[in-house]
Point group: C2
Chain length 250, copies 2
DNA sequence: CGGTTCGTTGAAACCAATCAATCCTCGTGG
DNA sequence: CCACGAGGATTGATTGGTTTCAACGAACCG
């Protein structure tokens, strides 16, 4: 079930305030990277609309047919898959400039659900048209291959995390990753708001929410961070990184 | 360090016994899926050579520059990444018809090492040429997007496994997956040889080798499988599947 | 045929899950 | 505006599954 009916009003009102890729602050992080002015205009014409997704709403759900990919303009999403027996696994958190829905290309069907963790905005990118346009714009095709490949590399990083690391190492890796991504987008790398619950962090990291809570408390006791509910302040980034590097003498 | 010096002799001897995609038994599983005769000939001309990789040799290593992707013709590979502090994570096992090196597109550099677990044979696919050809053959481009996307979906499955499942569930999932992939290639789905060690299975599944060994023994005691070293016989596939489906009443 | 790698099994230690109680926060409606 | 309820977070006690440590046996390779 998509939420298309819920958002149709905004769709209309947004049609004429479309922001073109060429003037988008995220173009360096997103698909248009490295395109010429002319090429970017062609890409612009392909982005049919911008959509607003309210906190808690599904942009799409697992099982939905896939017609478009989405680029996050603003906000924060979680992606999750559910196994046959009902277990949920959060596969990632996506923020501005990141693409959603790439898993769906394999079967023209979404395999994940994309849920907004705050009021968000995405650009809809019709996939068939992207595919066609990428044939005439080599650097667009190349960028898109890279985006797909980068997702694979990211997934391998998560496997490393889930397969080899202890609870506190996982959480440290998670915080460092978030911090870097915020920095890349011009936000503070030291102070940020967690848009997800402890349970969602736990699902992503293969841990229970109580373990996340305890690890946060421990980091705070050690003076690595300050946490107050969803606010996080990183006080000692090096200490967190040291946790990851393994004990120096091991 | 690549192993190119080791295999140069075979390369030469193989040049004239190249098997074209069009006559390859794996074409239904591999990139050429759905291409016309004419298109397949073009793809053929791109596959510069076949290479033999001996058991234990690296097809490529993490950090190597990426110029080509590889399609497994024959044999069995493991892919692994190593973290800064030296921990190894096996990210997958690849068999005939599967593509290697897709993670490397993101940076033109391999992020995994590909190691042959038995004497193997791969087709080398120069990436730049594949990219160019895929612009003129829409279904090739589409296939390649799908292959990349399928890899992402597969990785999500591994995350589910690592994040949510207990040791025996993971091993059951692993055996079922292997069984299905062998069947797809015309091999027995009930009897097969594990090409990897217990330690490598453990690394893939986020477990220690002793845990793998114990789980194998337990499955055998329960009559689900018969294991003798690397030989596996699946006696009760349904029982293994039931393990995954979660407790019936949960 | 000897050595090394791989696999199995047992006992103990440990880390995270589970169970449980309490508190906090936020959104909602009276 | 405050009270209420529900969901989210914290913390403690206990359990349990997996790792670790250890020893031994089997298989494989040169």
């Amino acid at each position: 079930m998509t939420t298309s009916s819920t958002i149709s009003i905004q769709e209309v009102s947004l049609k004429h305030l479309r922001v073109a890729c060429s003037s988008c602050s995220l173009k360096e992080l997103c698909l248009p990277l490295g395109l010429s002015g002319e090429e970017m205009t062609q890409l612009d014409s392909l982005i049919s609309q911008r959509m607003r997704i309210k906190k808690g709403e599904h942009l799409y759900s697992a099982g939905d047919p896939m017609a478009s990919l989405y680029a996050v303009r603003l906000g924060f999403f979680k992606m999750s898959v559910v196994s046959e027996d009902g277990r949920e696994q959060v596969t990632g958190f996506q923020m501005a400039g990141e693409l959603l829905g790439m898993d769906a290309i394999s079967n023209d069907t979404h395999t994940c659900s994309a849920i907004a963790l705050e009021d968000s905005e995405v650009c809809e990118i019709p996939f068939a048209e992207l595919e066609q346009l990428s044939r005439s714009i080599p650097s667009l095709q190349h960028n898109f291959y890279k985006v797909l490949s980068r997702e694979i590399v990211r997934d391998h990083g998560v496997m490393m995390l889930l397969g080899n690391m202890k609870a506190e190492e996982r959480l440290a890796a998670f915080l460092i990753n978030l911090s870097q991504r915020f920095a890349l987008r011009g936000y503070s790398s030291k102070n940020f708001i967690l848009r997800m619950t402890r349970e969602e962090i736990g699902s992503y990291l293969g841990l229970k929410l109580e373990t996340i809570s305890r690890s946060f408390s421990k980091f705070q006791d050690q003076g690595f961070i300050r946490v107050s509910n969803k606010e996080v302040e990183i006080l000692d980034l090096e200490a967190l990184k040291a946790l990851l590097a393994g004990c120096p003498e091991k």
